[in-house]
């Protein structure tokens, strides 16, 4: 959301293509090469990998059940049995942090995938066929984009009246897809006039083949960049929704609803073990994803060097 509003504007002031770049490699390889030269992006990849690993394999690191309450051991300080203490129903904060990472990453990942799927298909159809399909899709995106993002999500969640992880994810997807659709469409509009597409059409390739075999692979760069940034954004949005009371409901742990403990000024000042870990995890994960997204953008953007 935020990123994309800036993205298109940067194009005009790009620096001219650097001279003497190595030839004979595929654009993807070149991009990867550039990507791996970017220290921040590498840091992002490593952080994200570590975070994902400990979340996915949480049971290897912790034996506590993140849902097991212990009413006689609530708000315990870190140490001993509970490494990061317990929350107000006596659940192990460390276990919730690891398992919560799963949920937060699932929200980020699934929303991103859903968005990319819907956005890419609709964007591709609109960009490829043009005419009424294009008009229809574009008006739809106009419509959704004219509604402030968070307001629309709140509206939909309020209307649904029940929240769960999947309802939340579906809502997020429904609200975010237009952005991706627009990016894909713009890409397709220019690809449509490319010679290889025209010649594919001329030899009678099926449309689906042209779209999926020829055009999508060429539009993949902006999609990936957009997708990574979206993933980071979604993790932040989940925590904001938790704050407003519309996040993933208890007892399922997410970083967002754990961080919500910090809304109480007493916990903020005297029980930092309750909020520093989830806060740190959110910030560092989103940071890592943003680094990766930024790195990818620079890497795919053949006109730019490290700026």
């Amino acid at each position: 959301m935020q990123e994309s509003s800036i993205q298109p504007k940067t194009v005009e002031m790009q620096q001219p293509e650097p001279k003497g770049k190595p030839r004979g490699k595929s654009p993807l390889q070149l991009a990867l090469r550039r990507f791996f030269k970017n220290k921040m992006a590498i840091a992002g990849v490593i952080i994200l990998a570590v975070v994902s690993f400990i979340s996915i394999f949480a049971p290897l690191f912790i034996s506590h059940d993140p849902l097991a309450t212990d009413l006689y051991n609530t708000n315990a300080e870190p140490g001993g049995e509970h490494w990061l203490g317990t929350d107000d129903t006596g659940r192990d904060v460390f276990a919730r942090l690891l398992y919560g990472g799963r949920i937060s990453l699932i929200i980020g990942l699934v929303t991103m995938l859903g968005t990319v799927l819907i956005g890419a298909v609709l964007g591709a159809l609109a960009g490829y066929y043009g005419r009424w399909i294009d008009a229809l899709v574009m008006r739809l995106t106009d419509l959704v984009l004219a509604l402030p993002f968070l307001l629309l999500i709140l509206f939909v969640i309020a209307v649904l009246a029940e929240t769960s992880l999947w309802i939340l994810i579906i809502t997020l997807v429904l609200v975010v897809w237009p952005q991706t659709a627009r990016i894909v469409r713009a890409e397709f509009l220019s690809l449509r006039e490319q010679e290889y597409v025209l010649s594919a059409q001329a030899i009678g390739c099926r449309d689906s083949r042209i779209i999926f075999r020829h055009m999508i692979p060429n539009a993949v760069a902006p999609i990936i960049v957009n997708a990574t940034l979206l993933m980071g954004l979604m993790i932040t949005v989940e925590s904001s929704l938790s704050f407003l009371g519309f996040g993933v409901p208890e007892p399922t742990p997410t970083w967002g609803n754990m961080l919500n403990a910090a809304r109480n000024v007493r916990i903020l000042s005297s029980e930092p073990w309750r909020w520093i870990p989830p806060g740190f995890m959110i910030v560092i994960t989103v940071l890592a994803i943003n680094f990766i997204g930024d790195g990818l953008r620079d890497a795919f953007d053949t006109k730019s060097t490290r700026r």
């Binding site: 959301m1 935020q2 990123e3 509003s5 800036i6 504007k9 940067t10 005009e12 002031m13 790009q14 620096q15 008006r139 106009d142 419509l143 984009l145 004219a146 509604l147 402030p148 993002f149 968070l150 307001l151 629309l152 709140l154 509206f155 939909v156 309020a158 209307v159 649904l160 009246a161 980071g232 932040t236 925590s239 904001s240 704050f243 407003l244 009371g245 967002g256 961080l259 910090a262 809304r263 000024v265 903020l268 000042s269 806060g279 959110i282 910030v283 560092i284 989103v286 940071l287 943003n290 680094f291 700026r307």
Partner: protein, 320 residues
């Protein structure tokens, strides 16, 4: 140009119409209404029947929509279920606060982000640059409610520098300049909270724009002919690098309005964001509809302003 603006404004009408249909449909899909959660055993069922009738909830969806639409066009945004007051009045009471907060956030964004971005771009890949870039990334990554609470904790409770709720000091009875300063004093923390993300993004944006502009041929030429660096920066680099920033002003309307929802809630800032959260919790649909419509209108307007400004600052662009 005027024709272009006129045409764009005319497009608002079908857009807002479609948005209203979309929102109205969503509302119709919702189970229950504002009166289902309101249980008072001393009250007979008749009361709820009467209330539903009074607010037209017993009519068919199409009838309800037509009724709503007709009133909306006449400037009547409906009656709030909960407040029992015209929604226009509720919004009117609060919109000034949201606009004030928004303007302050914009001012903060531009006055902080541009110098920081330029500063960063002047010494690329230095420690300062990395620090600022890192800070900007943290700013982007931090949920704004968390940032707001940290600010309150730090600047209100620990340092006691700024107030943490309301727009003015309660019952202080200040007037004139003092009242204005009091208001500024109150707006600082909410405005920072609201603008953190934008400050971070604009800083990064300014930095990369300036860096890119510095490598343009005409800049190199200017340097080559021996124009002083500060003049080059001012006359050539900044002028070109910062033009697009102007248009972000319009494009960020949606982000700002979304942010206002959270910021106003934390700081008890009586604006339309807070009104909306309250309405959503109460399923007060007239308010939800009106505020969301208004927000959409602002977003559309923001986009238009962005496009116009773009044409104004960049003579290469012409609208027909």
């Amino acid at each position: 140009m005027y024709q272009y603006i006129l045409r764009r404004v005319l497009i608002f009408i079908p857009m807002l119409f479609l948005i209203s249909v979309l929102l109205f449909t969503l509302v119709q899909l919702a189970p229950g209404d504002a009166f289902t959660g309101q249980l008072d055993p001393n009250q007979d069922a008749r009361y709820y029947e009467e209330m539903r009738e009074r607010f037209g909830l017993d009519k068919s969806p199409v009838e309800q929509y037509l009724m709503w639409g007709k009133n909306f066009l006449q400037g009547e945004l409906g009656i709030s279920f909960r407040h029992k007051l015209p929604v226009s009045e509720l919004i009117g009471d609060r919109i000034g606060n949201t606009i004030f907060l928004g303007i302050c956030a914009y001012i903060l964004t531009y006055t902080l982000a541009i110098p920081l971005g330029i500063f960063s771009a002047q010494r690329p890949y230095s420690k300062w640059d990395y620090t600022l870039t890192g800070a900007a990334f943290v700013g982007i990554s931090m949920p704004s409610f968390f940032a707001g609470l940290l600010l309150i904790f730090l600047f209100s409770f620990t340092l006691d520098w700024f107030p943490f709720s309301g727009t003015v000091t309660a019952g202080a009875g200040l007037g004139g300049m003092e009242a204005f300063i009091d208001k500024l004093h109150h707006v600082i923390l909410p405005a920072i909270t609201l603008s953190i993300i934008n400050i971070a993004q604009y800083t990064r944006f300014t930095r990369s724009s300036v860096l890119a502009a510095k490598q343009q041929d005409f800049v190199r030429t200017a340097y080559a002919k021996g124009v002083p660096a500060s003049v080059v920066l001012r006359k050539h680099v900044l002028r070109n690098a910062l033009l697009p920033l102007v248009t972000l002003f319009g494009l960020d309307m949606g982000i700002l309005l979304s942010g206002a929802v959270i910021t106003e809630t934390i700081f008890s800032w009586p604006g339309i964001g807070q009104l909306l959260v309250e309405a959503i919790i109460n399923r007060d649909y007239p308010i939800m509809m009106a505020v969301t419509m208004l927000a959409s209108f602002f977003v559309l307007l923001g986009n238009l302003v962005a496009d116009i400004l773009y044409a104004v600052v960049d003579p290469r662009i012409r609208y027909e």
